[in-house]
Symmetry: C2
Subunit: 452 residues, 2 copies
């Protein structure tokens, strides 16, 4: 279900850069209505990423299917005094009628890999750039970060708590979705839970404890309402908080069903060890310890390396805003128009011409290299790009998110182990170009260089 | 106008962390309905910021005014099997009835300064935390970054081009709004232009040039449609691109009205100088030069320091995702309940008790220090917090954005000059606590320490 309509791109026609509309008017005036191919890819991995988990295409498809300029949209554009009546009339009937090819959500991808290719009349393929990039960029960036946090937690559940400091409401919803695909167990964001049918988690904040006359009174009251809850213990003094949980257990006896305590500040490793000892000494082996508070994959790794007895992690800001690598130099570039491959020669910004396919080659179940070829080529390996929309209509149904999540897990587990480490891999994953693609690229560049 | 309804918080009741609802149920069950005060502030400045420009409260007020749990929302919550019927019935009638005090949007603020204080029955003040923080956090982070870019551009217009790589659709809209408040001249985001009535800008991408058989043909066709446009010249070879603009000027004669050229790659300083010489030699002194491509405040400073003859800057990703400081350790903390100041003692997470006011003290028009006092205290200086909502209804009308922008400019210009520099200020801006506030804080801490 997509329950926040704008956020899946319905009624988002004006969510576009002004230049897309200017170019559209010029294309229209020139009668340039031939088919174009645009390719979405990224150029370089951030230093602290060994792969990117491609996500977000499912928020592109409803946008494309429903793309319409309303009367109000067109009135606004007219008010800018920059557009012709002919063009505004064209927009009133605008529909996306093209084809979209994409790697499945949850596929690890590398520099130059086409993540999405759009084949459509040039105006249509151009106009959609901003939304397509915005959605695939944010979800891929955040899923890639979440995959690292999940890796660090080494099987312990990661709970996503970032909504308050993720960039905007849409970003927060998409972070929950992308995180779930990457292996996060649950989100604190209730709307994300409803929109994406993913597990939600959360119990109490410090304010709840503080509003009571004493910590003991607060813990007791909360457990009365939610017997199998997680209790926050660090509001005043973490180990005194643990003692109060133990007192509560003694006084409730068989009615004590508290699932875990949460420690949100201080030296988490030391406090978790001391808390574990006190809980165990009190016979509360079943009470788990959840840690939170400024966590990321590096801090989680360090905590586990110190042997901290932590059973789950609440992770917020660092994951939800991917603070060490908040953006990716993702691009959406024209690679073909009117049947001819297209390139630009701008310094440091190479592109690969024409519609393409990516073949992932495996040995003994481990990915060895990707080969990018032209669409239609048959090369060894598993082809990654699949048609997801033809003539403006999606192909097949949206996959349930748990399936996407399992697929992502399999794909991550089939990567070379060095790529899954949290440090920079000693060598980058090999991505080669097919002979035909290389030949096409060289021929076009030679021709462009000769004429410019 | 707020034209993307969800994005100003209408129908966003479920955009909350699950724990807010759990605490609400517990408060309700305990009959804890007294008034609370929560304070929104941040704890530390990122190393690369000397102040934060507070923004976003205008997206909090419509959320609060319209906050309702729909039948579908309540059905979803019921389906989680964690909430009581009493609580779900309570939510069906839930309204926000509290008071909100805020510093005006565009106010530079410092660590510990209350940006917003909410006084409301504790359940209400608690439930709104996630949306309030999400909106004020993202807009304050992005406005603060944009203010630096505007500072670096030293009077030259900055155009915001970030929508494709800002985190999500809401983030992109809010970035445009926050940027405009911080002094950005225009956004490329058409929907932001419509929602916020701010200027939009943009002309052409490389794809437009590439789709044509030659660069010359593309430039000529575009100028026919948009005579006073900006032409992109770096698709193949920047200086050859400039030559083609000059050819176009010669062939069009008096009809040539091109406003500027845009250079998006390569050594921008060197290319801008060479382009300026060629344009001037051709008598095209009026054609301006716009630079773009991976720019931020540091690169803009470096370009201008090299004497690059650049008349305006297109800035995207680095500004729109605030990549050097993408988050702020903003918090929304209970500071009073049932008439008593509240604190927590968690390591490194100090709070200031009770409802407060901030007094900014000036000498000769330059801000010297802020003094945080209790609400109701009269101290020297300009009080920053104002009531913006009383009993659930906003006080006064929303200010037009150009007014907010002028206010922000004045407030920035009245800061000590070292804070406006792009490097870390030699000393932080002084923020003091009034005697009464200090006394209250110490008394509460002593009491808490005694009882814990």
């Amino acid at each position: 279900m997509r329950c926040a309509p704008f956020l899946s791109g319905r009624n988002a026609a004006l969510f576009t850069d002004l230049y897309e509309l200017k170019m559209a008017q010029a294309f229209l005036a020139e009668g340039m209505r031939e088919s174009a191919c645009f390719s979405l890819f990224f150029r370089r991995l951030p230093a602290c990423r060994n792969y990117i988990l491609a996500c977000g295409v499912e928020d592109v498809l409803p946008y494309l299917e429903s793309l319409r300029f309303s009367d109000e949209d067109i009135q606004y554009l007219a008010s800018l005094g920059q557009f012709s009546d002919t063009f505004l009339a064209y927009l009133a009937d605008f529909r996306f009628t093209g084809d979209v090819y994409a790697v499945p959500e949850g596929t690890p991808v590398f520099p130059q890999t086409p993540i999405i290719e759009v084949v459509a009349p040039v105006i249509e393929a151009q106009l959609i750039e901003t939304w397509v990039m915005n959605q695939v960029h944010v979800q891929s960036v955040l899923a890639s970060k979440a995959a690292r946090v999940v890796e660090a937690a080494a099987g312990r559940p990661v709970l996503e708590f970032g909504a308050r400091r993720i960039h905007g409401a849409d970003g927060a919803l998409k972070a929950a979705r992308a995180g779930y695909i990457a292996g996060v167990a649950a989100t604190s964001n209730v709307l994300a839970g409803r929109c994406y049918a993913i597990p939600v988690a959360g119990t109490m904040a410090h304010s709840y404890i503080q509003a009571h006359e004493s910590e003991q009174q607060a813990l007791r009251a909360f457990v009365r309402e939610f017997p199998s809850t997680v209790l926050l213990v660090d509001t005043y003094d973490t180990l005194r908080g643990i003692d109060r949980v133990i007192e509560l257990a003694k006084s409730l006896g068989a009615d004590f069903n508290v699932q875990a305590v949460r420690i949100d500040s201080g030296d988490l490793a030391e406090l978790a060890m001391a808390a574990r000892r006190r809980l165990d000494d009190a016979g509360l082996q079943q009470v788990q310890i959840i840690a939170s508070g400024g966590l990321d994959e590096q801090r989680i790794t360090a905590l586990l390396a110190q042997g901290a007895p932590i059973d789950g992690f609440g992770v917020g800001t660092a994951m939800g805003a991917s603070v060490d690598a908040p953006t990716l130099d993702m691009a959406y570039k024209l690679v073909e128009y009117a049947g001819r491959g297209r390139l630009k020669l701008s310094t440091g910004k190479q592109t690969l011409p024409g519609q393409k396919q990516v073949f992932r080659q495996y040995t003994a179940g481990v990915a060895q290299q990707d080969v990018i070829g032209r669409w239609g080529e048959r090369l060894p390996g598993m082809p990654l790009l699949q048609p997801v929309m033809l003539q403006g209509r999606r192909v097949g149904e949206e996959k349930p998110l748990p399936e996407v999540r399992s697929y992502a897990r399999e794909m991550i587990e089939s990567l070379p182990p060095t790529l899954r480490r949290l440090t920079q891999a000693p060598s980058t994953y090999p991505v080669a170009l097919s002979d035909r693609l290389q030949g096409d690229q060289q021929a076009i560049m030679a021709k462009l260089r000769a004429s410019h």
